[in-house]
C-alpha cells in the first residue's frame, strides 16, 4: 500500500523547497518528485529503522545511553554544544535550554558558514527581502562568491534567475544575471556577465563600486580585474528596478570575512538611494537560518554563545567551535544534527576525538569514530515534525511522511535536560 504526500518540505539546503512529492511504501520512500539530486538522495536514502544507541561502539539500550550522555555533561567543566542546523527549531530551542542549564557554549554550523554575515549585520545592518520579492521584482541578480548550480540547484528555477513573477513575466529574459567569482563555475556559465576577480580582492571591488555609484572617478583600479566590467556592473546596479545580491562562502571564508560582507551590505544600503536593492546570504543547511533565529531570541546572539558565566556572552574567535576545540577549551562535546568531522580543520577534529562526546543525529549520519555516545534519532522532515527557516527567514512546517520508530531530537534532548545537574 503506497501513500503519496504533496508539498513536502525538503530541508537539505537553505532553499527549503516545499513542493516535493513523496511516495512511501512499506515505510520506505520509493519515489521523489521535483527535488534536486541532493534532495532526492536525502529522501530516497533514508532508513527509519530501529537503530540502537551506542556507547564506545557497543550497542546499548536507550536508558543507558542517555545516562552516559548525562554523565559526560555532568562531568564537564566546559561543554560545547555544536551543530543544530539540520534539526527543527523545536530541537534547537531544547539545545539552547540545555546549554543554559549546564553553562555550556552553544554554536551552530553558522560558525563555519555565515557567522561572518551575522557579524557584518551587527555592524551595519542589511537591506534584504524574501525570495518571492526576488521572483516578482528583481531584474538584476548578482551572485557573488556563491555557486547555486552546485549548492542550491533549484534556486534559479524556483526563486531567482528563471522564476516568473509579477513584474518578470518573461522569467530569465526579464533579468540580467551577473556572477562575481575567482574562477569560472557552473553558475558563471549561465550568467550574462561574469566578473572574474583575483582571490582576496572582493573588498576592494566593492569599495570601488561604492565609489562609482557615487560618481567618483577611479584611478588605478583594482588589480586582477577588468575595470571596464566593474564600471559596467556599477551602471547595472544603479539603473536596475530592483536588484538583489546573493552571496556565499566566497565572501565569508575568504580573507576579510565579515568585513567583506559589511562592505557588501554598505554598498547595497547605499544603492537604495538610487533604486531598490537587497542582499541575501545563501544559507547552506536547511535550518541554519533557524538556528540563528532561535539562539538570537533566547540569548540575544545568533551563535558562538557561552552560558558559562550564567549570562549569555557572544565571542567570535573565542566561543566559536573551531576555536573552542583547537584551543582545547572544550572538555566535552554534544554534536547535534551536523558533522564537524567533515567540515572542521584537522586540529579541531583531533581535539574533538580526544574529549568525551555525544552525537545526536539521524542514524546513518552518526560518527562512531568521533563520538563516545551515539544517540540515533528520527529525521526532522521525514519521520519527525518541526519548524524550519528558509534562507530568507520564512518559517515552514516540516511534515512527516512516515511515523517515527526512533525517538526525535526533541525527545532525547528533553530527557537529557531533565536528568543533568544544574
Amino acid at each position: 500500500m503506497s501513500q503519496v504526500f504533496q508539498n513536502i518540505v525538503c530541508k537539505f539546503c537553505g532553499c527549503l523547497c516545499d513542493d516535493i512529492t513523496i511516495e512511501v511504501e512499506d515505510a520506505r520512500i520509493k519515489k521523489v518528485k521535483k527535488a534536486c539530486v541532493s534532495g532526492r538522495g536525502y529522501f530516497l536514502d533514508y532508513d527509519p529503522s530501529d537503530v540502537k544507541p551506542m556507547i564506545d561502539g557497543q550497542e546499548v539500550e536507550w536508558d543507558e545511553a542517555i545516562a552516559a550522555a548525562v554523565d559526560i555533561l555532568d562531568r564537564a567543566d566546559s561543554p560545547l554544544i555544536y551543530g543544530l542546523s539540520s534539526t527543527s527549531s523545536e530541537g534547537q530551542r531544547k539545545a539552547a535550554k540545555l546549554a543554559d542549564r549546564i553553562g555550556a557554549t552553544i554554536d551552530s554550523t553558522s560558525s563555519v558558514c555565515h557567522f561572518p554575515t551575522s557579524q557584518a549585520f551587527q555592524a551595519v545592518g542589511e537591506a534584504t527581502c524574501t525570495l518571492g520579492e526576488v521572483k516578482d521584482r528583481a531584474d538584476l541578480m548578482v551572485f557573488w562568491g556563491c555557486n547555486p548550480m552546485i549548492a542550491h540547484p533549484r534556486h534559479f528555477a524556483r526563486y531567482s534567475a528563471n522564476a516568473k513573477g509579477m513584474l518578470t513575466k518573461n522569467g530569465r529574459k526579464d533579468r540580467t544575471v551577473v556572477v562575481v567569482d575567482v574562477r569560472p563555475t557552473k553558475t558563471s556559465k549561465l550568467a550574462d556577465h561574469f566578473l572574474q576577480i583575483k582571490p582576496g580582492t572582493d573588498y576592494e571591488v566593492m569599495t570601488t563600486l561604492r565609489a562609482l555609484i557615487h560618481g567618483k572617478k577611479i584611478g588605478k583600479g583594482v588589480e586582477g580585474v577588468d575595470m571596464q566590467q566593474v564600471e559596467q556592473l556599477a551602471d547595472l546596479m544603479k539603473s536596475c528596478r530592483y536588484g538583489v545580491t546573493f552571496f556565499g562562502m566566497g565572501l565569508t571564508m575568504s580573507p576579510g570575512r565579515a568585513y567583506n560582507i559589511a562592505e557588501l551590505f554598505t554598498l547595497v544600503a547605499e544603492l537604495n538611494k538610487f533604486t531598490r536593492f537587497s542582499a541575501m546570504p545563501m544559507r547552506g543547511h536547511g535550518n541554519v537560518a533557524g538556528a540563528d533565529q532561535v539562539l538570537a531570541w533566547l540569548s540575544g546572539y545568533p551563535t558562538a554563545v557561552s552560558m558559562a558565566c550564567g549570562v549569555p556572552k557572544m565571542g567570535p574567535g573565542e566561543f566559536t567551535s573551531v576555536d573552542m576545540l583547537a584551543n582545547k577549551e572544550a572538555d566535552a562535546a554534544l554534536i547535534i544534527a551536523s558533522n564537524p568531522a567533515a567540515h572542521f580543520p584537522q586540529a579541531a577534529v583531533k581535539h574533538l576525538k580526544s574529549i568525551p562526546s555525544i552525537h545526536i543525529a539521524p542514524a546513518g549520519e552518526c560518527l562512531p569514530d568521533i563520538a563516545n555516545v551515539i544517540l540515533p534519532t528520527a529525521c526532522c522532515g521525514i519521520d519527525a515534525p518541526g519548524t524550519a527557516y528558509r534562507m530568507d527567514n520564512v518559517p515552514l512546517r516540516l511534515q512527516t511522511v512516515m511515523p517515527n520508530i526512533r525517538p526525535t531530537d526533541e525527545e532525547i534532548l528533553s530527557r537529557i535536560i531533565k536528568a543533568v545537574k544544574q
Binding site: 576555536d323 567533515a342 546513518g364
Partner: protein
Amino acid sequence: MKNKYTLITGRTKKQTDGLHKGACSPDHVNATSFVEIGPDDMAQLEITEGQIIKLLSSAGIVELPVQAGDLPVGLLFMPMGPTANKLVGAETFGTGMPSFKGLQVEVEIV
C-alpha cells in the same frame, strides 16, 4: 620543486551528494580527495592529469591526484572535506572562521 599557490576549497556536486550519506564514508572521502589546477599552471609545473602531487600548508601535508580545472594562474581548487581540512589550519584570526578559502599552499612534485 616548491611553488606558492592560493587554495580555495568549495562545494562540488559529488561532494554535496555524498554528504548526507555520511561525510566520512569512503564514497565521500574519495569524491573529495583531488586538486584542480589550471592549464597554465599544469604546463608550468609540467604535470599531467592523474599525477600525484603534494600540497603543503602551515597546518599539514596531503598527497593527492591532479585534475585539470578551469582556473586562473596561481589558484588551486579542492572540494571541501576531510582531506582539504588537513591543510586548513585552525587559526580563525578571532573570527571563528578558518581559512577555507584563500589558503596559501605550496606544491611539491612527488
